[in-house]
Subunit: 310 residues, 2 copies
Amino acid sequence: MARSVADWRAQKCLGEYRLPGCEVTTGCPSLSIAQAAERGAKSFILGFANSGGHLDERYLPHIIEAIESGMDVVSGLHDKLTNYPELVKKAEIAGVRLIDIRHPALRLSTGTGKKRTGKRLLTVGTDCSVGKMYTSLSLTQAMAEQGRQATFRATGQSGILVAGEGIPIDCVVADFISGAAESLSPDNDPAHWDIIEGQGSLFHPAFAGVSLGLLHGSQPDALAICHALNRSHMRGLPHVPQPSLSATINANLEAARLTNPDVYVAGIAVNTSAVKEDEATAWCRKTSDSFGLPCVDPVRHDVSVLLERL
Amino acid sequence: MARSVADWRAQKCLGEYRLPGCEVTTGCPSLSIAQAAERGAKSFILGFANSGGHLDERYLPHIIEAIESGMDVVSGLHDKLTNYPELVKKAEIAGVRLIDIRHPALRLSTGTGKKRTGKRLLTVGTDCSVGKMYTSLSLTQAMAEQGRQATFRATGQSGILVAGEGIPIDCVVADFISGAAESLSPDNDPAHWDIIEGQGSLFHPAFAGVSLGLLHGSQPDALAICHALNRSHMRGLPHVPQPSLSATINANLEAARLTNPDVYVAGIAVNTSAVKEDEATAWCRKTSDSFGLPCVDPVRHDVSVLLERL
C-alpha cells in the first residue's frame, strides 16, 4: 500500500516512517513523525494491509503521535480507526480526520447483469498480489498516452489512495459485490474504456467469491491476465498450489461469459521481479507464443502491446 | 421467510398478519396485532425478504403497533431495525427487543482452505429460491430418522429463524465469505454430517460471489443439486436465462474441487410445485435416469434416497 502511493503519486509523498524490523522501503526519505510534520506532511498513511485487515494495537502510539502532530490518518484496514474511542477523541482535539478508505459510504444495490454502454477491461490473476493494480494503472496511462479515453477504476485500498476514489470491493456486504462492481463502471461513451482493478483470484480459497462477483459486475469486454513468477503457492496458504495460466484464463473466460458472452483476453501481464531481465524477456516471449497473446512485464516492458487486441 | 417458520416450527406460530394486497398465506390463523398479543404472541416476525433487503417505510406503523403491544420484532433485512431511532426509542419504552438476524455479531477471519474433520453436504442450485433450505432441513431430518449424526447449518435469515442460529452469509463483509463458511461447520466427529444451506447460484449475476465463497468455505464432500420446474429466467432478472442442470452440476463440482478434490453429487432435489403429481414423478424418474443420480421433490417424495450415495 505504501509503495503504491510512492510509485504512482510520488509528487505527493514527503517521506516514509519505518518501525524497527521493517524490511521494505518505498525509497522515500526516512523521516520521524516530528520531521514529517515540520516539512508540512498533512496525512499519515498506514502503509500496510494484512490479510484480514486487522489493526495491531502496537501501532496506536505512532498513530497518536501523528494525530498530535496535526496529520489526518488514512487507513485501508477492515478495522476502523473510528472504532477506537481514544483515536476519535485525540483526533477531535487535534482537529484532524480519521479516514477509513476501505469502508464504502455509498448505498449499494444488488447486481442486475444488465449490459452497460462503453468498454471495460478487468485485470484478473492467478493469485492475490500479482500486479493487478499496477497493470491497471499502467494500461490506463498507456491509453491516455495514445489519446484514448480511459479511466482507472479502483477496487482496493491502495488503488483508492492513488485514484482518490473507488469502491473497496472486498469490504462491501457480500450480497452487493456485483452490484457495487456495476456501479463502479456506469454507462459511458461507446469508445471509453474503464480499466478496472481486479481483486484476488478465482483460485484463492479465501477470496474467490469477491473475484467472481467483481467479474460478473464488471461485465468486462477484455481481460488482462496477471501472474507472478516463481511463487510456489497461493498467498498466505502454503498448502494451496497456484493454478496454471491456462486454467486461470479458462475459468475467468467461462465465468465472465455469464454477463458478457463476447469477453476475450487482451493479454498476459507478468511480475517478473523474481528473475533477471533476459530470463524475464525469454519467459514472456515463450508464453506469448504458447498462448498466441501479448505477454509483458508492465514494469520492465512496454505495456501498450496489451492494448493491441482491444 | 414467513412460510419457513410456519412449515418447520409450526408449534411456535400463533398466527399470521397480512396486509391488504398480500396474495400468499402460511396457513396460520389470520390475526390482528392486538389479537396476537392477546393470545400471547411474543415476537413479530417481518416475514419477507426482498432482493436487496430494504425496509419499506410503509411497514413502520405496523412494526410500531407490534412493539407497543409488547412484542420483540425480528427482521431478516439488510436494513437494520436498530437504524431507525423511532423504533429504538419505542422498543426501549416498551421493554422489547429489535432483533436483526441478518447481521452477524461474531468476529470473522478470512478463509484458509484447510481440511476439517467430519463430513459436509452443501445444497447448491440453478437459481435463488429453488428449495435449498427446504432440502437441507429435509435431509437433516431424514438423517436423524436414520439415527445418523447430522446438524443443519443455516446461512440465511429464514434458516436462522428455524435453527435458532447460523451465519447470514450474504451479509458478511465480502472478504470473509469463505472464512465465515469455514467457521459455520467446524471440525467434528468423522461420522457427523453438517447439512449446509446453500445460497444463490453460481449462475446468478448478482449473487454468484456469495455462492462461490460459501462453496469454497464449506468444503463439501457431497452436493445436493436443487432446481425448480417451469421457470423461464433467473429470479428477478427476466433477461437472464436459467442454466441447465448439467451446467450447474459441472460448474459446482469444478469450483468445489479447489477445497475438496473428492467432492461428488449426492442427488437432485426438485421443487415440482408448478406441475401435477404424476408429471412431477415422471420428470424426476427421467432426470434420475439421465444423470444416473437420485432425483426427488423433497415435498412430494421420500428425500432419504438422496442419502444413499453419502
